[in-house]
Symmetry: D3
Subunit: 165 residues, 6 copies
């Protein structure tokens, strides 16, 4: 769904939360297949038994990709996702864990281009026990409020929006 | 392949480069399927024709995940990947573009735990024209040189190593 | 996103339309792999050249599944999807065609259970030329208006809702 | 395998049964990925525990697609699959359930084109306990008996046959 | 479909041919993902341009696996597939090539167990120009003719049959 | 990683061993999907319970493909993989088994082309109990020692190298 949200409409400290998703053995096997990372931490159940964590763990890039995907429900043509800061893997995610994502508008800053501001969304990935397993800050360049957004939305924004997903 | 590399063995400014990989329509469809992000930027060729970029673009999380996977060739049991900084999507990656990753040891720092140091690897993803399309810094907590690494490698390291991949 | 919509809130002739999605060779190969239907109509480009349609065509079950998935944006805990009527494959969908779905509230009927009514949604799948390629009627058993939906939503509805997707 | 079966050769009430197939967690994850339907009924094991059905259930479109695929063993160039009637999801299919399909020639009717008739196959999907979990009627437009089928099979039939799969 | 075929029923020099299947970019990407073989011969279109073959080539194990799968149409409970001899990759298979398999009963031999014989099926994989791209010999241990196969088929055969597929 | 290894550098009886990989239900479902082999030995858990082996078994072509992929760590531009001999499926591989591959340089032979020799690698696939479940001989045509390999490596070798993977 397309929904235009201007820089001025983002409210600091607003939060929303996604529905949940269980991370399965299938997700890990598919992610190894997509990335080529077949490290035994993810793919060798026998070797994992000899380690303290005791079982296979999901790739960090899997949890990050799924978490970002879970937040991708509304297409904002005024916002351009250009990166992430402070991506941290805090706890391992095991097969069968269920994650959900809490999104907080953590910061709003001016940008050198006067028509734009920078919104920083804090993403926290929580497991079924409410523990934070991953966190990062998602950086969005967002057009400021305009009288008639429909007419002024430039193609430049469209061109680059969402490559960060 | 397992290969122990201690903190002291990482040389600042050392670089290595991966082989290449062509990003295909299949990769994008599979990544949408893994993440649930079916935004038209990635999935609707007709809508993309109406935008300045003119064609479907790869998800940022796809390029990040594939790039990290391309660097995952040697398992270092002394290193623990715990996060990424300054992940930036610099240029769009289109279907048929071929990427490779250049890795540079960009920084080495002490850590509060005296047995460890922090290594920062800079990842740059280049396309077939040599343009940087993505960059980030990969943070590794690495055990310092020890007389007999085989005996002193603690299970704690093993426990957490590589969840950042 | 969960959103409770009671039977009485569905408005006859209301329509909504999804965003688009391009049907790719990947989708067909994955659908063959999921269903085991490797018929040459879908999988043998050489044989298709000898037929009047001249090229590979998407499985009907692929178009139906994708179309239903494209409409699955809001989880209505008051509605239970129990079937489809008059599913018709009207035109072939080729690799590279882009489809979108138009949903119309086509019918509302009483049900023998007094607390429920039957809503019939008409799904029309359109290609990039606006041609209808598939159509069907989606049958929903929906709880009637209640004073306090939050409290009265029975587990029985939850139990069965959405198995039709 | 290609095998020409004319309208007159279909015998009312003839039945055949497929071999079985176990529906796995993998099938559900792949189907979510193909369709974009990540509803918690299919993907969130924790949420499902709070519902009466207690566990994740297969998408209706998955069971339908797999069931139709299971029946796709013989390519009849004289038959054109054009739709389905009365598709009903009768019982949930859980991870680990094994389904098979019983096909019955349920009806034969004239068609306005004198060279063709309409065959209605009833598909019943049974689980490992013999319970019917899904049912539908598959509609086939089939060429009538001809003296020399090899020569008279028109390209028009070939053109459209099987898009219903 | 289950169909019992005893050793004595296999006729030397009998041949059958499968329908065709086009090898797609998707197949190669999925096979890399399943096997972990991301060699540039299969995955790097730019590097392939610098080689004499000029384009990506399918993995040999992909062609072998697909070819064996294409022959798997009838389940013979009297036969046990235990291996392959002289598997040769004769010509590269490129994206878009369409393959089919010709199967010839190439040899029949006694086995030390008097109730069994060894059948050797020759598999030849042909592309759309009729060129042989792969060949191998499939070895089957098959029970000899018996008065009443239904009663004498031992569970031992069932136990191991088809692990060669 | 590219690494040139000439015929004369292969040492008879040298061995190496890969890391391990657990064969999952996902691998089997994906392999059925890639090959079209949905035989009940692999896909019908209920039928398998009625057989002596008691549970689903991995396709032979899956184990072969994964095993070959597991050995594909170094790209030798001087070697051309052209086939396999004596591929044997010795024990079934079940869901949850973990395999690794032991590679031995089993034979070195002259070739009619004086610049080349034939290297035969013996591949043995072992499960977590150390049992050999599959074995085969991998045939490599390898260029002999040359004064300056970098300059003399012919494009003809590049053209065909690795199609056996």
């Amino acid at each position: 769904m397309f929904q235009s949200i201007a820089f001025d409409e983002y409210q600091l400290n607003d939060t929303r939360e996604t529905i949940g998703r269980t991370i399965t053995e299938t997700d890990i096997v598919l992610h190894a297949g997509q990335t080529g990372d077949f490290f035994p931490h993810h793919m060798d159940a026998e070797w994992c038994k000899t380690q303290d964590f005791g079982q296979r763990i999901a790739h960090g890039t899997l949890i990050f990709s799924v978490a970002v995907g879970m937040t991708a429900t509304v297409i904002n043509p005024l916002a351009f996702s250009y990166g992430y800061d402070r991506l941290r893997f805090i706890k391992p995610v095991f097969i069968g864990d269920t994650i959900r994502v809490k999104i907080t508008i953590a910061d709003k800053k001016d940008h050198k281009k006067p028509d734009f501001g920078v919104v920083s969304e804090r993403l926290e990935v929580l497991n079924q026990r409410g523990e934070t397993v991953m966190a990062c800050e998602h950086l969005l360049l967002v057009r400021r409020q305009v009288e008639n957004i429909q007419h002024r939305t430039s193609d430049i924004q469209h061109q680059t929006s969402n490559i960060g997903h």
